[in-house]
Every structure is written in structure tokens, then in C-alpha cells.
Amino acid sequence: MKHVNFISRKGKKFVKILLLVIMISVSVGLVTYTAVMKIPSSLNKGVSKIIVIGKTNQDLAFWLSLRDGISVAANEYGVTYEYWGPDTESDIDKQISLVYKAIEEKPDAIILAATDYERLAQPAQAIIDAGIPLVTMDSNVYANNVQIGSCFVATDNVQAGVKAGEEMKSLLPDGRKVAVISHQIGTTSSRDRDTGVRQGLGTDINILPTVDSAGSEDKAFELADKILKDPEIGGIVCLNEYSTIGAARAIIGAGLSGKVLLVGFDSSPSLNTYLEEGCLNATVIQRPFNMGYVSVVNAVAVLNGKKVDPFYDTGSILVTKGTMYLEENEKLLFPFT
């Protein structure tokens, strides 16, 4: 009896300790759980690293503003990022190698602005295969006509092209020809804007075959210079910032400012001056800041397992000399501190 009692007392003590341990672990677990549930995003933020691969690492107004947006969003959401890019937009091989290098670094997410929608498809697929979330911006990549990234943040380029085309159509004197200078024939932004411009110009206007500046201002200048030799040319539509600058230089050089119409894309201090001077009749401005900002926001959302829309349209605005100092345009045209 005494012996039995001893054992059962020991057993009770064990049960007591067990109970205590269970209670403590449950409470600690609860507190931790609540804490973790409350700050899961901030916990993720602390460790998340995003690699952004742009089309170029040059200090171009568009890309500077885009990187600004990335920086603001990264600050706001507590993620770190690195911005990589080839020297020129035409250096597709360099960008492909950058993508593979980024995969090796095993970041939490990659944001890519593809210089070529066909050639970047395989590297982009490699990102997905490595289990890294991919957000594309500005220009998309496709595999068998299916978007590879989980989200594409960009200007609706067809829509933007239509705006440029319609503006040109409204300004163009009857019977004159229009030329289109693209910036990088293999990239979706170039292809879609071209489509949009032709759509906006309609079928009545004689449009010359699109020529490609291949990411070079000087090439654009040469192409424009050649185009301007044609006396029937009435207007040139350029599809990005430096092809517009190249064409503007050619027009001014030929003394045709105001005589040959120029509708461009994007803005920069020199483009603003061309706009004020009247050499550039209109420019379609995108919202690169928004593009960078939303790309990061969506990448963070994907990281946190949230669902994001496959396409985010950052929109575009057509600005003329008359509307450039309107409040909403002023802030987009001039780099804002």
C-alpha cells in the first residue's frame, strides 16, 4: 500500500509537471503566433531582397524616374533591392547573362524589363524554374504567347501608341507621309507602340516602314536625317526618349523645326525644351515612377502570397506645349525632388 502510494504520488508529480510544460508551451506558442500573425509582412520585409534588371543602367530620365519609384516603394515596404542593367538597351546578350547571374544570387524576387520578348523568354523561364517570383515591367516576355511573369507592370503601349498616332493624324497636313522610328524592335514596348501608332494614324495616311534606332540616339539621328530627305515627309513618330531626341536634333539641323511634325515618347529636360521651342509637337509621357513603384509593391505582394492582377496599366498622357505646365503634367515632365 505504501509502495503503491509512493508510485502514484510520483506519477501525480509527473502529471503536474507535464501539465505545466503544456500550459507554458501553449501560452508561449499563442503569444508567438499572435506576434507572428500581426507582423508577418514586416518579418518578410526585413529579409526580402529584390533584383531589378532594367533595360539600361544609363542615367536616362525615364529609367531614373523608374528607379526612383523602386526606391520609394522599397523604403516603404522595407525591402532591399539592387538595380542592374546593360549599358545599352540593344545589348540583349548582356541582359540575358544578368538574368542568369541574378538567379545565382537567389533573391526573393526578380523584376525584369525585357529588352527582347523572344530571346529573354528562356532566361525568364529559368527564373520561374528556380522558384523565384518574377514581375515584369515596361516590356513583357512570353513563352508560346503566354506571359511568363506573375505580373506585368507597364504602360498600355498600344493605347499610348494610339494617342501618338491620333495626335499626328490631327496635325498632319493632307497628303504627307509619316515615318516611325522604333527604339528596339525585339522589345514589346517598341512593337506595341508601333502597332498603336499605325492604328491611330488610320489607313488613309501613307506610313513608311518602321525603322529601328536599336537603342541609340545617334542611330535615330541618322535615320531621321535620311527620312527628312524625302520632301513628302510630313511627320515623324518616335517611340522612345532618345529616338525622339535624335529625330529632334535632325529636324533642327535640317532647319525643318515646326515644318516637319514630331510626336515622341517620354520626357527629359532636353525634350521639355524641344516641346517649349515647338520642335516637338507632342510627347506621350508614361509614368515611370509609378511603374517602378508598382512593380516593387506587386513583387512584395507576390512574396506575401497575395494574388495580383496579371497586368497593371500605369497609363500614359499626351502632352503638348499648351498643356505642359498644367499641374498634373508639370510633375511628370520635370524631375521632382
Binding site: 503536474k16 505545466l20 500550459m23 507554458i24 501553449v26 501560452s27 499563442l30 503569444v31 499572435t34 506576434a35 500581426k38 526612383d68 519609384g69 520609394v72 529636360p269 521639355n272 525644351t273 517649349e276 521651342e277 515647338g278 509614368r287 515612377f289 509609378n290 513603384y293 508598382v294 500605369t314 497609363g315 506645349k321 505646365y325 499641374e327 498634373e328 508639370e330 510633375k331 511628370l332 515632365l333 520635370f334 521632382f336 525632388t337
Partner: protein
């Protein structure tokens, strides 16, 4: 053992304590929380207002700086003569003045006087006017003309007057008059970054400040690019444009607006009380933690305390169960020192008493059985029976039929009395009748040698006595006293009451007790029949009524002479039975 029933008391103690602590916490927490939240909110609002005043003060410093600079410039003689376009040209003096002013205020980007005739002078040596833009189209120009000499402040804008420069500035413009005629415009540009820096100091997690210009456009907003690009929306509808500091609360946001009369700007502080709530969700986590901690502590303490309380009770209960099953040796060994221990003590005393009572009861039963058996044995002792039957035969031979009938009837009554009455207690009368019947038989056998006398008061006949206590004494007297006597024997049975006690005396004049037997009283050492008989009766009386009752024997030993009493030969032996006086 009895595990299924244990813990009910402990559980209720445990859950009661837990319930109390949890309810206290549940009441305390919301109260504390709401008090803390309201204090936090009040503090936040007052802090916000204070911050707002601070920002207002800083901004007004810049604004008033611009106004006083413009006042100084307007009244400057060189400027006055420059505006009048009078000779000699004072433009170089004016430029020097402007440069001096700009030197004192590095935050002034541009100081430009634009004359209506197209001439201009600024603080910059080599400055060109942007040829592509007609500043007369700008709102700052139009507003200044409308204000007729009063200073006008723009919101944030790109300065597009200066050729090749596109600075973000805040502009003050003022129409200048010469001889009552509009002669020019003074444009003072304040570095926008200056204002942004002042305001950004006030930004934190739970709030920020923005400024709306007199024209309703944003002067400053910490996330203005997001606001302009439409990613973020600002609740301009919550901005109030009236004197003093006004707060509007909507959807958990507190919009506090402060109008600056000098510039017409409204400084707005936005405070997110939702953020406040999210801060206090830390408090909730902390509270849940504390609550759990105290619950555990309470649980442990009440577990231990209840164990201290319930363990002895369970112990006591186990002992009772044991007792219930018939183990009268069950004892509660309670080691703690409290009421339960006292209870255990009482239990132990009770079981002891019950144990004794039961033992006593058993003993009484046993004695009764023995006495009945003995009584029966005494009656049907073969010797007694043979003698009686032989006496009957003999009497019937000599034809004494009446005596035969009488003796047979007495024998029959004797047997009936022995066996019939189940009760331990009978009336004294029953007992006396029994003895009388017995004596009838004995008297017939001993003839004149045996005399029997009864001396019992009528009033005592209905008292209760234990059955079969007188006859054994009488039988004793016959066999040990009278039988050996050479002469007439006498047995007297008398009874009297005194002080609630009943005394029944059986006296004889027989040979008396041996000295040794007398000395051995009250417990007779010898185990012969008479000894057993007396002991049996004595034990039964004592067991039934207590130790103060019993048997007393007085006997004058055989060698001594018996003193005479009232002229009659005295009695040698008197056995007195002491019983309580019980009437029905």
C-alpha cells in the same frame, strides 16, 4: 481507488480561481485598453496640433521673410527709378541689391524684377528669359496683377521663366507700380526643398503633414508623386479652409487644418488612428501574454492549494469507504493541520466507539444465547427431568392425581416460558411466575425440606428485568445450599426499589459458600455450573445496563453460626441482583 470521483472539488476550485482571474483580466483589459487608447489619442491630437503650430511657425518665417524682402525691394530707390525707366539706368545697382538680399537668404533661388517693357534684372549675372514661354500666361503673373500690389504665393511649381533652368520653387509675386501705372512684377522664388524639409521632419509612421496652396493645389505632400500619379489618394475634402486650427475625423483619420493668413496656405496634419490601434495590438499581445502567465500561476497555486485541501478529504473518504465495507479498524491518518484533520480525529473517535459498541452488542447476543441455552439445559437437565418424571409416576401410582396434574402443568409452563419469549426484557412478574413454577416442582420433590417464600411488592411486578436471572440463583441455592442441609430449608425471593434501582435478593439458609469461592467474587474462579451460572447472569446485567449494576453476594461461611433475625433462624446466603428500575 475511487479515482472517478476524485477531483470534483479540486476541479471546481481550479476553475473557480481561473474563472475569477480570467474575468478580472477580461474586465480590466478593455477598460485599461480603452483608457489607454483614449489617452493616446488625446495625446496624439495635442501633439499633432503642437507639431502643426511648429510647422506653421517655420513656414511663416519663410513667408514673412519673402514679404519683408519684397517690401524692402519695392521701397528701394534704385528699384523705384528702375521701374520708372528713368535715366540714368540703375539696373546694375538693382542687381547688386538683389544679390545682397539673396546672399542673406540662401534659400532664395531667384529674385527677378520683370519690367512691363520686357527689360528685366535678377540676382543672377548672366540670366536669360526663356524665349519659348510667355510668363504673362502664368498664374503667378495673373494673380499678382489681380492682387494689385499685395504679395501672392504660388503652390509648388516649375520655374520656367529662367532660360535653361527648371527648378521646383515656391513663388511670391507682386505687382509693381510706378506713378500709379503697372510697371513690372517682382518674382521671388523660394527653394522648394526648404519647405519640403520643414514638413518632412513631421512625418512619422502614424501621420504626416501636407500643405495646400491658396489655389487649392498641393504645395507639399510627402508622397506627392504617388498622389499626382493616382496611386495614392488624398482626402482634400477633409481640409477646412478657415481661421484657426480645425480637426475633422473620418474613417479613423484625423485631419487637422491650420490656415496661414499671410500666404493663404493651409497646413494639414493627417493622423492615422488606425495606426494607433495597430500600435496597441502590441499591447494586446503583451496583455494576452500577461493574462496567460497569470492564469498559469493561478492554476499552479490553486492546484497546489486545492491538493492540500482535497488530499486529506480524499484520504478521509477512502477511510470511510473502508469503514463502510465493514472494516471497523479503518483509521484516517491525516498529516496536515486543519479542519479536515479535526474531522479525521472525530471520525477516528467515532469509528472506535462504533467498533466498541458493535463488540458489546455481539457480546450481549452471545451471552444471551449462552444463558438461554443454559436455562434450557437447566430445565431439561436429564437429572431434573428424570426426577420430576419419576416423582410424577410415583404420585400417580399412589393416586395423587391432583399433584400429578399440578406438577405436569408446572413443568409444561416452565418449558414454555423458557422457549416462548424472544424478548430479553420481561416483567418481574413473568420472572417470578417462572421461579414459582420451578419451585412447585422442586417443592414436591423435596417435600417439607424445602420452603419457598416470595416477598415482592405488588407495585414492582410490572418493572422490567432481564429474563432468566432469578431462577439460576434459586437453583444455585437449592443445589449448593439446601440440599446438604440437615433440616428445614428456606429460600426467600424478595424485591425492593431504592433510588431508581431495583434490588432482587435471593436468600437461603443453606450451608453457605466456601470461603474460597466467596473471596473470588465477583468473578468466580471455579468453572463449575454454579460459577458459570452466576457469572453469566452478572455479565448479562453489566453488558445490558452498565458496570454500576450487577450481582452482590453475602454469605456467612459454614462454620459460623447464623444470627437470628426477629426470632426466626437467620439466612446464611443472600445473592442480590442490582438492576435499573424500569417501568414500561
Amino acid at each position: 481507488m475511487a479515482k472517478a470521483h476524485t477531483g470534483h472539488l479540486r476541479n471546481s476550485i481550479l476553475f473557480t480561481s481561473l474563472f475569477i482571474i480570467v474575468s478580472i483580466l477580461c474586465v480590466l483589459f478593455p477598460v485599461t485598453y480603452s483608457i489607454a487608447a483614449s489617452i493616446l489619442q488625446t495625446n496624439s491630437i495635442s501633439y499633432t496640433k503642437q507639431m502643426l503650430r511648429q510647422v506653421d511657425k517655420s513656414i511663416n518665417y519663410y513667408i514673412s521673410g519673402m514679404v519683408s524682402v519684397s517690401d524692402y525691394i519695392v521701397e528701394n530707390e534704385d528699384v523705384v527709378s528702375y521701374l520708372a525707366a528713368s535715366q540714368p539706368d540703375t539696373s546694375s545697382n538693382v542687381m547688386e541689391e538683389l544679390q545682397t538680399v539673396a546672399g542673406t537668404r540662401p534659400d532664395f533661388v531667384n529674385l527677378i524684377i520683370l519690367r512691363e517693357d520686357g527689360a528685366f534684372v535678377s540676382n543672377h549675372d548672366q540670366m536669360g528669359i526663356n524665349p519659348n514661354w510667355d510668363y504673362r500666361e502664368s498664374s503667378w503673373y495673373k494673380d499678382a496683377i489681380t492682387a494689385e500690389g499685395e504679395p501672392v504665393f504660388s503652390s509648388s511649381r516649375v520655374e520656367n521663366v529662367v532660360a535653361g533652368e527648371y527648378d521646383w520653387v515656391i513663388s511670391m509675386s507682386r505687382a509693381l507700380y510706378s506713378n500709379g501705372q503697372l510697371s513690372g512684377i517682382l518674382l521671388v522664388d523660394l527653394n522648394y526643398q526648404q519647405i519640403a524639409d520643414i514638413c518632412s521632419l513631421s512625418n512619422n509612421d502614424s501621420g504626416y503633414i501636407f500643405i495646400v496652396g491658396a489655389d487649392g493645389r498641393l504645395v507639399y505632400h510627402p508622397q506627392q508623386r504617388l498622389v499626382y500619379s493616382g496611386i495614392k489618394t488624398e482626402r482634400f475634402d477633409l481640409v477646412t479652409r478657415s481661421e484657426g486650427v480645425n480637426a475633422v475625423i473620418s474613417d479613423g483619420y484625423i485631419y487637422t487644418s491650420s490656415l496661414s493668413p499671410a500666404s493663404g496656405w493651409v497646413t494639414v496634419s493627417v493622423f492615422d488612428t488606425n495606426q494607433l490601434v495597430s500600435i496597441s495590438s502590441d499591447v494586446i499581445v503583451l496583455f494576452v501574454g500577461i493574462g496567460l502567465f497569470f492564469s498559469i500561476i493561478t492554476f499552479i497555486i490553486s492546484y497546489v492549494a486545492s491538493k492540500r485541501l482535497t488530499d486529506p478529504i480524499l484520504q478521509l473518504k477512502a477511510s470511510m469507504k473502508q469503514f463502510e465495507k465493514g472494516d471497523f479498524d479503518a483509521k484516517a491518518n491525516i498529516t496536515v493541520n486543519n479542519e479536515v484533520a479535526e474531522l479525521g480525529e472525530s471520525f477516528n473517535v467515532m469509528t472506535e466507539r462504533i467498533k466498541n459498541l458493535v463488540a458489546q452488542e455481539l457480546l450481549i447476543e452471545e451471552q444471551k444465547r449462552i444463558s438461554e441455552l443454559q436455562a434450557l439445559q437447566a430445565q431439561i437437565r436429564p437429572h431434573f427431568l428424570y426426577n420430576t418424571l419419576e416423582s410424577i409416576i410415583w404420585m400417580s401410582e399412589i393416586g395423587e392425581n391432583e399433584k400429578v396434574i399440578e406438577m405436569t402443568s408446572a413443568l409444561s409452563k416452565l418449558f414454555r416460558a423458557t422457549t416462548s419469549n424472544a424478548n430479553e426484557l420481561v416483567t418481574l412478574k413473568t420472572e417470578i411466575d417462572y421461579v414459582t413454577n420451578y419451585m412447585k416442582i422442586q417443592k414436591m420433590r423435596y417435600q417439607d425440606k424445602l420452603n419457598f417464600r416470595l416477598d415482592v411488592d405488588e407495585s414492582l411486578l410490572q418493572t422490567k428485568v432481564i429474563k432468566l436471572i432469578i431462577q439460576p440463583m434459586v437453583e444455585n441455592a437449592i443445589y449448593h445450599g439446601i440440599k446438604q442441609l440437615k433440616g428445614q430449608g428456606l429460600i426467600i425471593v424478595s424485591a425492593h426499589a431504592e433510588e431508581q434501582k431495583l434490588y432482587i435478593a435471593i436468600s437461603d439458609n443453606g450451608v453457605g459458600f466456601d470461603k474460597g469461592i466467596l473471596d473470588g467474587t465477583p468473578d468466580f474462579a471455579s468453572k463449575d455450573e454454579s460459577g458459570i451460572g452466576i457469572n453469566n447472569v452478572k455479565d448479562r446485567i453489566k453488558l445490558f445496563f452498565g458496570s454500576e449494576y450487577g450481582i452482590n453476594i453475602k454469605s456467612i461461611v459454614q462454620d459460623e453460626a447464623i444470627p437470628e433475625e426477629n426470632g426466626m433462624p437467620g439466612m446464611r446466603t443472600t445473592v442480590t441482583l442490582t438492576l435499573p428500575l424500569i417501568f414500561e
